[in-house]
């Protein structure tokens, strides 16, 4: 009788000790690394991550593309991007038809990694602007639905992630993404995509692209945080998501998005 209750007590105590010391050691490690010690207290169900992109502020400098490649070890070269910038050019005669499918002239040399060389003339009456793109962190994502092994998924805090150990490299998700946000990592041979810098946001940091964006054109937002300025922003601006007709539940909101953007 007594021995049984002793055993239970022992298990309870030791599990408590293990749990607490585990959290404390994680906290200590993140302090030693010079990171905010938010990670051990991070509760997934208190967050719902997304991003707000203000096209009127994007200057096409490519800082986000370079920052992302540095932060996440994305291979250099024009085929591999977790985020990239596109330049849209709409000739003067076509301004009245933003709905025509073949119209916008889009270019994105090396994804904007090296910036954009001047290609169009000032004052020729055309419309030109930059559109940064990244994974839309869909809440009904087509890419996770097609994965045959459960290697990609929507996390409880609203980020679409890839399990590199589980991924077979079948490329099905790459085809399924309507935004073209995925690629096959040439070294690991697994699907890779924007993780919204998951390793940073759980530590209370913003994403690398937001950190490097000089104009504040992109901002990480927590839609579950009532104090996040995103709620005011969404109320005061006319925002849109990419390809709403695909019903993906995208969480990357664009301000001043032109109808010609695909």
């Amino acid at each position: 009788m007594t021995s049984k209750s002793d055993r239970r007590e022992f298990l309870r105590k030791s599990s408590k000790f293990l749990l607490l010391s585990g959290a404390a050691s994680v906290a200590y490690a993140s302090v030693a690394e010079g990171q905010p010690e938010k990670a051990p207290n991070y509760r997934m169900h208190d967050h719902w991550w997304g991003m707000v992109i203000d096209i009127d502020l994007c200057i096409g400098c490519g800082n986000c593309v370079r920052a992302d490649k540095a932060e996440n070890g994305v291979p250099l070269g024009p085929k591999y991007f977790r985020t990239w910038v596109e330049r849209y050019h709409i000739p003067p005669g076509d301004l009245q038809h933003p709905e025509k499918e073949e119209l916008p002239v889009v270019d994105s040399e090396n994804g904007g990694f090296d910036g954009f060389k001047e290609k169009y003339k000032k004052g020729d009456g055309s419309k030109n602007f930059f559109v940064p793109k990244l994974c839309n962190q869909c809440s009904h994502s087509p890419c996770t639905q097609v994965c045959p092994v459960g290697a990609t998924f929507e996390s409880p805090d609203g980020v679409v992630l890839v399990d590199r150990e589980y991924c077979l490299g079948c490329r099905y998700c790459i085809h399924a993404c309507p935004y073209g946000c995925r690629y096959l990592h040439p070294e690991t041979e697994t699907a890779d995509k924007c993780s919204l810098c998951y390793h940073r946001i759980v530590r209370g940091l913003t994403t690398a692209c937001c950190e490097a964006c000089p104009t504040g054109a992109r901002r990480l937002v927590d839609l579950k945080d009532p104090n996040d300025p995103v709620h005011e922003f969404l109320k005061m601006h006319k925002v849109h998501v990419l390809k709403p007709q695909m019903a993906t539940g995208a969480k990357v909101y664009y301000n001043a998005l032109d109808g010609s953007v695909r």
Binding site: A70, H89, K121, E165, G216
Partner: protein
Amino acid sequence: MSSRFKDQEHLIRMGVLLLAGIIVFFVLRGVMVPRDFGEYGHYRGGALEDNRARPAVYAGRKACEECHEEVVAARKGGRHAAVGCEACHGPLAKHASDPAAAKPGRPDAKTICLVCHLENVARPAKFPQVNPLDHGEGKACSDCHKPHQPKIS
């Protein structure tokens, strides 16, 4: 005792095989599917931790401002006050964790400013842009504009 079915033995054999198959399936499943699969959904719960484990390369503005108070003061109220430190100085998490280990280089003022401020029709018209061919006489931008407080007073 007569058997109820003519081929009873065959049926028993088949049933045993089926049962063995089911047992083998569940044993293999127990061995091969990780424990944390299905913890939150149809995926491995540990994958969340795997994604978190990556070290940060960009330290974040807060880390810079902890030590470099004089730069915070110099930037205050200026046009560049909202620009993140690492937007120009590059990723410096290594420097933030051990200032002696990785020293940041000084950005080249002849090229770094033009990454953002070079004239381009696709840039928002309100954004300050220059053509270096007819502005500045080939001097480095920082000769006149202080990067932390670019407005010439």
